[in-house]
Symmetry: C2
Amino acid sequence: MSIERVLLTHGGGGRMARSLIESIVSTFDNPALSRMEDASPIAIPKQEKRSEGDAVEQQPRIVMTTDSFVVTPLFFPGGDIGKLSVCGTVNDLATAGAVPAALSVGLIIEEGFPVRDLERVLASMKKTADSVPVPLITGDTKVVEKGRGDGVYISTAGVGAVRPGIELSPARIEEGDAVLISGSIGSHEASILSARNELSLGAKIESDCAPLSDLMQTVLEAVPEAKCARDPTRGGVAAVLCELAESTGCTISLDEEAILVDEDVQGLCDILGLDPLQMANEGKMIVIVPANLAQTVLEAMKSLDVGRNSVKIGEVQKGAGRLVMKTPYGTSRIITMPVGNQLPRIC
Amino acid sequence: MSIERVLLTHGGGGRMARSLIESIVSTFDNPALSRMEDASPIAIPKQEKRSEGDAVEQQPRIVMTTDSFVVTPLFFPGGDIGKLSVCGTVNDLATAGAVPAALSVGLIIEEGFPVRDLERVLASMKKTADSVPVPLITGDTKVVEKGRGDGVYISTAGVGAVRPGIELSPARIEEGDAVLISGSIGSHEASILSARNELSLGAKIESDCAPLSDLMQTVLEAVPEAKCARDPTRGGVAAVLCELAESTGCTISLDEEAILVDEDVQGLCDILGLDPLQMANEGKMIVIVPANLAQTVLEAMKSLDVGRNSVKIGEVQKGAGRLVMKTPYGTSRIITMPVGNQLPRIC
């Protein structure tokens, strides 16, 4: 773009707004977006028609999700607000077993925001969306006065298609099910924490921020019977599993030794007295499956780089809706739902 | 809700966040939302299957749109940011001829925002969405520090279904087409202007903020051949018609006498030197139709309260991609695309 900073007039409806929007649109190079209509067509992935009689039954279910992103700093090791905004929405679709069909983006830009940074954020969104792949088909741009925002806030919404026969839901969780996770925990929140100016701790921890739709599709192709999936973002694994334990009335029992925490992340947590179990992840998926299929699902997860450290961390037991941690010393303790967050604005 | 102000911890992933979210969810009283899944199912309106052979052809097209809202003040005569956020997205779907199927909402709340105000905004969203009707099926809440936002920003995305045979697009505009609008212009921006503290002008001008999906469906039932629709928000009628004139290469000729401006709005514009043609509307639709069907479309529009003052304001002529205003004195002048906005943060 030929300007250096975003001005308030770029948020109006005139020629300056149009020039900013055209620059944004050209970044994404997508026919539906380039038409610059108020609403854009979604191409719903076609499903194979399995028999002549039930054309209607074979239609995919369409699902929708949204997220707003206010992370600070905007750029951090392993990602930035642009990558995060695509991953977050794609991963929410993935928890429903959906193949992403389309994304929308709403930008709330603070007056004076450097255009160079905006371009970096947009390029990062484009790169991440292409890797899924999912088209970004529609968007909106607003500008607020200096001191009424913080660089840029991004809201993404996503639409996806769930193929017939897939039904991921907490209601299907039963005693005996296995709890799997696609790798080590806590690195996104640890990355944000160490990237904040006031906490320059030396260790450069990379966020795990990654799209997980491929991982979930690989799981569901191997084991369509998978029961429930959740991405443990704000509140971490603790919040997600406390919620599932409460809603199912089962006890979820975790094996402390099985849970992977990277050395740098554990070090940061030890210094600051934080619990990795409560720390946000942006590239991990918890999958709950029938025990006898756990090994097959783990192998499917490990077949992808993003799931190479997948591991079984616990199981669903008869109980009273609690999350329990079994320690290596043979004792166990109850994990309660975090009250607030350990750190604001991590996503 | 039992609290008075939104705190930073309400944006975390823990119990406090959950209690805020549960309050929000209960406002909307919608089964898909109440499941509180990361992604929610969209019920796509069913289409009548007109013949056995072409079941696939009769599927509706699915379209998506998004908007972010940063209007200030949050409450203004005739509406508030909640009503506006639903109308804006519903109206963008309406410009494509779509029946709204689902909305998502992302809230970015400033720390310390009064919960009473949040409740008012949410109740207003619910009321407006019910009047469409369209379900609000999924959402997200973030909290930013005091001084990093401005009360609340709302991002809505919408998905809608366009029935087969409807094709609203600027590409279909031709010489001879009539330009219609659903009533008087400029009242939304004038309302915001007069509601701002620094400009207490006495006159209480009401915003036209209203959902227009019913209006567009009524038009399309009467005249499926309608060619293009646009809601003249930021930049007003001038920006929308300049854009259409440029993109089609036709001249759009407006009749100054035909354009309705409410007395209060005109008075405010005269005092401040503003042009109503450049002022934002949030409850008006411009519809471009073949000239011989203009009367039928006008009658359809007038059959609804929201379109009772519908009027033909101009026509499409051979030309050089310009917007021209014919004055009552027999002269004419060229209207150029506004450069910036007359007023920031009107939507």
